[in-house]
């Protein structure tokens, strides 16, 4: 038996989405979306974390020191530039949440 109304393509898509994500919010256009939108922008733990991330992008050198760096320690008191870079935090602390 043919149905009287044709199901709109949008409703078909909605059914697909609900099948994949059954726990999707009740208010689709509501607060969650908008709050995420207002929060746009990558969050860092602090300014130090931010500067490390920026430096990592610019710095093409590998964190494992170049040959000249390995010669430094033990020979004389190292300067900050001689020390290998601290690895930036990969996971944002829960405090940042």
């Amino acid at each position: 038996e043919m149905e009287d109304k044709v199901i709109s393509p949008e409703k078909v898509e909605e059914a697909k989405l609900k099948a994949r994500y059954p726990h999707l919010g009740q208010k689709p256009g509501g607060s969650d979306f908008l709050r995420k939108r207002l929060q746009k922008g990558q969050k860092y733990f602090d300014s130090g974390d931010y500067n490390m991330a920026k430096a990592k992008m610019k710095n093409k050198q590998l964190p494992t020191a170049a040959p000249d760096k390995t010669e430094v320690t033990g020979d004389h008191i190292p300067t900050p530039q001689d020390l290998p870079q601290r690895k930036p935090s990969l996971v944002a602390s829960k405090l940042a949440g």
Binding site: E14, K16, L17
Partner: protein, 419 residues
């Protein structure tokens, strides 16, 4: 870098682009060449400068992108050109000026700038102006900062040429171009309790002739027209434009695809155009209950909304623009396609901005997307569309049929074919 905004100036001689890296590139139209009378002026690079740098908001530990969200030109008042460029938080007024003369023969300085020994100076030397190679300089004249808690999505210069507005997700501010330490808040839709937030401001623009009127669009598909003469704070609109929705057709996606990504007044000031995810609508300012014209941009995407939601494309913000006479409108789509609609003949065309499909001076071939079963030759099926190739930003020359189309990190300039 990825182009994030494109804008012709009032004469159309200059075309500015802003990119994700905070850079502004201005193109200038060459004077018509006498040796090639049939070729219209081409656009060549005129000036390039770094407008914004990435910043860090220490209070919120958030990065502030340097991406240029919008550029708006000021009408030209003297030899220099002025434009406003904005990122998420800060608006800057830039002066672009030409220098083609240099003073030579200073009395107290050497040619290389060093001060001459005063005891050695025995005669008066008056500097003379000598021609030099053209130099185009861009200098920041005003910086309008710290007025937006949320992300700026629009700026619009008023027809009074003295003030402009800037809009973020929840507020709209009014500035005077000369004053950087003060701005007036004219719209504030932030609810007392953020849990009650239901919509955000998506775009705003001043009326082209009435300096007291502006409009702003929302994520719920509505447009509010406000009159600054009625009250200082325009939270209460003068007109409210919304197309009634068929409640039976409502779905999870309805509100998302109704979100207006751009609003533009016609040059005449009688109409305005809004862009939502699937269509462009033209509204008569005298009729609030429905648009007078609706154009489908890519209706075939309605049956793909589930995947477009999953890959976030459903949140893409397409812009739209009018031609100089308001007889045609243009907007972008996916697969580097862009669409033009003639309002009088009701004809529409789909064209592609890509290197493969067009050689310089070749005529663009119309494209067609196949929605049904059988794909004809030269048609492209919906599933073959490249959703990473999106044309979000387009601009139309204010007087001629010259258009600028930004396809990711490439800028295309197309002209009408000359008979």
């Amino acid at each position: 870098d990825i182009i994030s905004t494109v804008e012709f100036n009032y004469s159309g001689d200059l075309l500015a682009t802003g990119d994700k890296g905070g850079r502004v590139v201005i193109f200038q139209r060459e004077q018509e060449n006498k040796s090639r009378p049939h070729s219209r002026g081409e656009y060549n690079v005129y000036s390039t400068f770094q407008s914004h740098e990435p910043e860090f908001d220490y209070l919120k530990s958030l990065e502030i992108e340097e991406k240029i969200n919008k550029i708006r030109w000021l009408p030209q008042q003297n030899a220099a050109h002025f434009l406003l460029s904005t990122n998420d938080k800060t608006i800057k007024l830039w002066k672009i000026s030409e220098r083609d003369k240099r003073a030579e023969g200073y009395n107290l300085k050497d040619e290389d700038g060093r001060l001459r020994d005063p005891f050695r100076i025995t005669a008066l030397r008056v500097p003379i102006l000598k021609p030099m190679d053209l130099m185009v300089e861009a200098s920041p004249r005003r910086i309008f900062a710290n007025a937006h808690t949320y992300h700026i999505n629009s700026i619009s210069v008023n027809s009074d040429h003295e003030t402009y507005l800037s809009a973020d997700d929840l507020r709209i501010n009014l500035w005077h171009l000369e004053i950087t330490d003060r701005s007036f808040n004219i719209v504030d839709i932030k609810p007392a309790n953020m849990e009650e937030l239901t919509e955000v401001i998506t775009a705003a623009e001043f009326h082209p002739h009435h300096c007291n009127v502006f409009v702003y669009s929302s994520s719920k598909g509505t447009i509010r027209l406000c009159d600054m003469r009625s009250s200082a704070l325009c939270d209460r609109h003068s007109k409210f434009f919304e197309e009634p929705e068929d409640p039976s057709s409502r779905s999870f996606f309805s509100e998302i695809i109704s979100s207006i990504s751009d609003v533009k007044f016609s040059h005449s000031g009688r109409y305005m155009m809004t862009r939502d995810y699937l269509s462009v609508k033209v509204w008569d300012l005298n009729m609030e209950n429905r648009p007078v014209e609706t154009y489908q941009v890519h209706e075939y995407l309605r049956s793909k909304l589930c995947s477009l939601y999953e890959n976030d494309c459903i949140f893409d913000k397409f812009e739209c623009c009018w031609n100089g006479s308001d007889s045609a409108i243009m907007t972008g789509s996916y697969n580097n396609f862009f669409r033009m609609f003639d309002r009088n003949t009701r004809r529409d065309i789909t064209l592609e901005a890509s290197r493969e499909s067009s050689k310089p001076r070749a005529i663009l071939k119309p494209r067609k997307v196949c929605t049904g079963g059988k794909r004809k030759k030269d048609e492209i099926s919906v599933d073959s569309l490249d959703f990473n190739k999106k044309i979000l930003h387009t601009a139309w020359h204010p007087m001629e049929n010259i258009i600028a189309v930004a396809a990711t990190n490439n800028l295309y300039i197309f002209q009408d074919k000359i008979n």
